[in-house]
Symmetry: D2
Subunit: 164 residues, 4 copies
């Protein structure tokens, strides 16, 4: 069962958050639901491979928001997370109008970088698995050690994460 407050939360965040998984979700990972856009397909009739990365971005954006500080606020406070590595394996094609779930977890956390892991699912079917690694940099793009409360927030989440 979900309640009215959660229903409204879904509208605002686009985040799927079944009550019984709430704690687990908030501590260890996060799920979002998205609808595949026509613009994301290509002439092969499937989603173009590069278009999974904006979905991963949506996943980690909502994950950060769920931890208490939106990524927008990270940047407003002078901390940027440029992407330094990405990877994705495509098992089955995502199709136009599919309703997909993107699961995001923290795979690795270091003083100057963080790696997120992702799974894209259509109902119970795994479509793709990927990860993205991000450096912590300041406004000038110089590498920095993540200050508090950011590091602690990620660390608490990372330590309680299950293997994806």
């Amino acid at each position: 069962m979900i309640n009215l407050y959660q229903g409204i939360l879904y509208i605002l965040t686009g985040v799927k958050m079944p009550e019984q998984e709430e704690k687990k979700s908030q501590k260890n990972g996060w799920e979002i639901t998205l609808r595949v856009r026509y613009s994301e397909t290509d002439k092969m009739g499937i989603v173009y491979h590069a278009n999974y990365f904006p979905w991963f971005e949506m996943g980690r954006t909502e994950f950060c928001r769920s931890l208490g500080i939106s990524y927008k606020e990270w940047e407003e406070r002078g901390i940027f997370l440029p992407c330094v590595e990405v990877r994705c394996r495509y098992k089955r094609p995502a199709l136009y109008d599919d309703l997909l779930v993107v699961r995001t977890v923290i795979e690795k956390l270091e003083r100057c970088s963080v790696s997120f892991g992702y799974e894209v699912l259509r109902q119970e079917t795994l479509l793709a698995q990927g990860y993205t690694k991000h450096a912590f940099t300041n406004t000038q793009g110089a590498l920095m050690s993540t200050p508090e409360p950011f590091y602690g927030m990620l660390q608490e989440c990372f330590l309680t994460s299950p293997e994806l």
Copy 2:
């Protein structure tokens, strides 16, 4: 107040549908809520102008779904709606992480084409207004007169639409 069923509907469709506006929405137009992606911004720090058009696409997709037949089904039944004209006026920039509403109405309906009108809002502020015109074509791309029940479905909606 919204009820559980509607809460679930929001999750599935991503569509904002306050109960008191339900009939109006279903008959005359449709609203969706979306979150601006980082990938949609450009180095000016705002959303790149071309990226409003996929939002319009999301608007008319959910609009069609609300009328009873998803656009995916249109194509499965051999009816395609390639875009023949687009226009957009940008009043104020949309920004990263903004929670936006896209309102979609039918602006004009002819035997071989349909035009949708759109408004993009951040709370009460109008950010952009646009329209897209689409031809009805068959699988080979030849212009066709829209068959029933598609035409009737759009017509009923169009006739009861208010001016945007």
Copy 3:
């Protein structure tokens, strides 16, 4: 006939510049050649309508460069040209791997805005016609009157432009 220098110029700029049209091109408009990417197509097998606007952007970018100051330098000197209106009419679909020409001219020039007109062609066939209107703003996004030498540069070009 084109010479070696121009051949190299083509490589560096991606700009098609047949010698006999050189003066006309430099004064009144500009042509670029581009190859349609797979990523620009959609499941209908044609180029997604929003993806013409980055081509228009390429057109005006090379046009500005041909006038002597690249748009990158405009921004470095504190002048930004956010898009305030766009329009496009699609006559025939552009397809994957098509070699297209984009012709760019100045359609209108005012103290605080400039409008560019575009034609997209595959050999002699007109595929699409569009325009984009841009405001001149400063770094803070406030409207400004274009300073010299920018205004004069555009004006000279505009006054000698033929109708598209």
Copy 4:
């Protein structure tokens, strides 16, 4: 020295092909030059990480064309190369209006798949390294063994390739 014919070839293909490297290029890899679009940047002021993959696509497209059969023709003859894995490491950011070189080689060739390797350079500076793996499938998306002359064409190129 390049000659007029090659100069024209550059225009038609957008491919950089200095004469002295011609054989090497044609046998073992391929280079293209591209200009970074404004639409490819994000609010961090750099190219959004997902936007390197369409550049890789351009690289392998021109590579296939250089081998004698364009990828468009592959598809026309019923052979599709959906992407099954991608990876990219970003060393330094690509910026708006940068003139970049993308080098493409075949990294691995199997009966049912091919992997391409890529390097993105700004002059002598390596910005990113990546690879994409593609399955050979038929029109229905079923895995297939690549028929001749496609396999032989890739194999000859692969066997003479240097390490990237």
